[in-house]
């Protein structure tokens, strides 16, 4: 447990001493602030649905940048040799990296909570969709970070890791469009791989166990692949 705490602390420091974290946070907050203000002034409706879809897109674009260095950099610099010749297991290393990256995603969500508080002060929003939207964003972020970590574990080059994650995220974003063109039962199979299909109910105030199960399954599968990729050497 102590060694896991040390691993987690090291990863947290690596993330929060890197300029990448602050650039990502700044860009995220500027874009969110603009969207929130414009939406509120144009529609005069106390809702965060537009904001949630915007965060969804921003997660697809920023998570690859957050996760790209996690393992790829350790492989390139060969510090992985120092790390994995210490008595720490691959799952512990992977989970520490995962939690540290997820903490940045959670921080982004917490900071965006300022918009929900503003809505609460200025009007009377329906809090149900806001809670479900944040739950959906957390689950989406958890799945995306795990996939980003898995691609970073597979390659030595950070840029390739980022491009690989980004391509995968974009494919999973639009995959339902291809799904509708397929015959039964392949259409349902492919449509169910879509991130947007599983996220939309959360953003609009409906919580389905199947949607939550999808994001959790993706996260667990990606974490398993990360451990396997790290053990392959």
């Amino acid at each position: 447990m102590r060694s896991f705490a040390a691993l987690l602390l090291k990863e947290e420091k690596a993330i929060f001493t890197s300029p990448i974290a602050y650039v990502v946070l700044s860009v995220f907050l500027i874009i969110m602030g603009y969207t929130f203000t414009v939406t509120l002034f144009v529609s005069h409706v106390p809702t965060l649905v537009h904001l949630f879809f915007q965060i969804y897109v921003l997660f697809l674009l920023t998570v690859p940048i957050i996760t790209m260095r996690l393992v790829a950099e350790e492989r390139r610099l060969r510090t992985i040799e120092i790390l994995l010749t210490a008595p720490v297991s691959e799952p512990a290393v992977v989970f520490a990296k995962y939690l540290a990256s997820l903490s940045l995603v959670v921080l982004m969500l917490v900071l965006s909570g300022a918009y929900a508080i503003t809505l609460g002060i200025l009007g009377q929003p329906d809090w149900g969709p806001i809670y479900s939207g944040y739950l959906g964003l957390f689950l989406l972020g958890a799945a995306l970070v795990a996939v980003g970590l898995a691609t970073s574990s597979l390659v030595n080059n950070q840029i390739i890791a980022a491009l690989l994650s980004l391509s995968l995220f974009l494919l999973l974003w639009i995959i339902d469009h291809f799904g509708w063109m397929l015959p039964d039962p392949f259409d349902a199979l492919v449509v169910n791989l879509s991130l947007l299909v599983h996220f939309t109910p959360f953003a609009t105030g409906s919580i389905f166990l199947s949607d939550a199960g999808f994001f959790i399954s993706v996260a667990l599968l990606a974490l398993f692949l990360s451990v396997r990729a790290l053990a392959r050497r």
Binding site: A6, T17, E81, T85, P87
Partner: protein
């Protein structure tokens, strides 16, 4: 002394390429072992298997009785490993890095401070404790890498090419450090530089193309002890007399006049006995020096012999 490391028919494959081909050896507690071989001979692969970084493809590797394949974490607790070129976290400060390594190596609570202080003192890292590792000189980086390997006081220290790219002063310092560890700890040093190995190791193993050519090159070099003598008198008579001394295997003329090289059976004859026998036969003996085993000669002989065997087989 009991064996700390037992390697039995170790094989390591990278896909279709075989990097280590059935290597077996043992290392006793307290020994300083040199692993010598040309670049690409499989030295680093063997060290990485011992350090728990690479799993063996076949064979058994035990450290302090723990099998690295079945209990990798337990075996890693017994090993301090310094990889080639000292890959370290450049963004961390030296003290922070050593505390981190101590924590992940299971040094708990208050013991961490003591363990780090001991490693810092032994490696003389006091002046750079607050410096980011990325700003250190090569010599200091190497010392930090060795400090992290020693921070949990493991019984086995493994160093891969520890003097690579160091200047002369830094090489001398690393060499002195390894010598200072002899006896207190078991040390395995790999290098392609013959003089480095010769100066620090009590036993030298030679590796070529993934095969271990010898587990004790010094013994191969000196399995018959050699003496160089300076004896005045007629050469044929001196050689004949030398060959008649009990325990002498062979006697041959040396490089200069009146100099001879005598090979004796170890244990049967001492230097004083040889001197007494030569003088007793009426010859004037002015010098008798034991010739140290020549590691370079053994290395060349063994590697040429192995290469020749391979060429013949092909």
């Amino acid at each position: 002394m009991p064996d700390l490391v037992v390697v039995d028919r170790l094989v390591k494959r990278y896909g279709p390429r075989v990097a280590v081909r059935g290597v077996s050896f043992e290392i006793e507690e307290g020994e300083v072992i040199g692993l010598l071989g040309p670049n690409g001979s499989g030295k680093s692969t063997i060290l990485r298997v011992l350090a728990g970084y690479l799993p063996p493809s076949a064979g058994n590797v035990c450290i302090a009785g723990i099998d690295v394949a079945t209990d990798s974490l337990g075996a890693r607790m017994q090993v301090g490993y310094v990889p080639e070129d000292a890959p370290l976290y450049d963004g961390m400060r030296v003290a922070e890095f050593l505390r981190f390594m101590a924590a992940i190596k299971g040094v708990a609570g208050r013991a961490t401070r003591g363990a780090v202080a001991t490693a810092v003192e032994r490696l003389d890292l006091g002046p750079v404790l607050g410096t980011p590792i990325g700003r250190l000189s090569r010599g200091y980086r190497q010392r930090v890498a060795i400090a992290q390997a020693l921070v949990n006081d493991p019984p086995l220290l493994i160093l891969d090419e520890p003097t690579n790219a160091l200047d002369a002063y830094q090489v001398i310092a690393v060499r002195a450090l390894v010598r200072s560890l002899a006896g207190r700890r078991t040390v395995l040093v790999a290098s392609h530089v013959l003089t480095e190995i010769e100066r620090v190791a009590s036993r030298v193993m030679i590796l070529l193309d993934g095969r271990l050519l010898t587990t004790d090159a010094m013994r191969e070099a000196g399995h018959a002890r050699q003496f160089r003598l300076h004896v005045a008198g007629p050469a044929p008579a001196i050689l004949a007399a030398l060959r008649l001394i009990p325990g002498v295997i062979d006697a041959a003329p040396g490089d200069d006049a009146e100099r001879y090289v005598v090979e004796i059976e170890p244990g049967r004859l001492q230097a004083a006995d040889l001197a007494r026998a030569v003088v007793g036969q009426g010859f004037g003996l002015s010098e008798l020096v034991e010739v140290k085993p020549d590691l370079e000669r053994v290395f060349l002989d063994l590697t040429r012999h192995a290469s020749g065997m391979e060429a013949n087989a092909a």
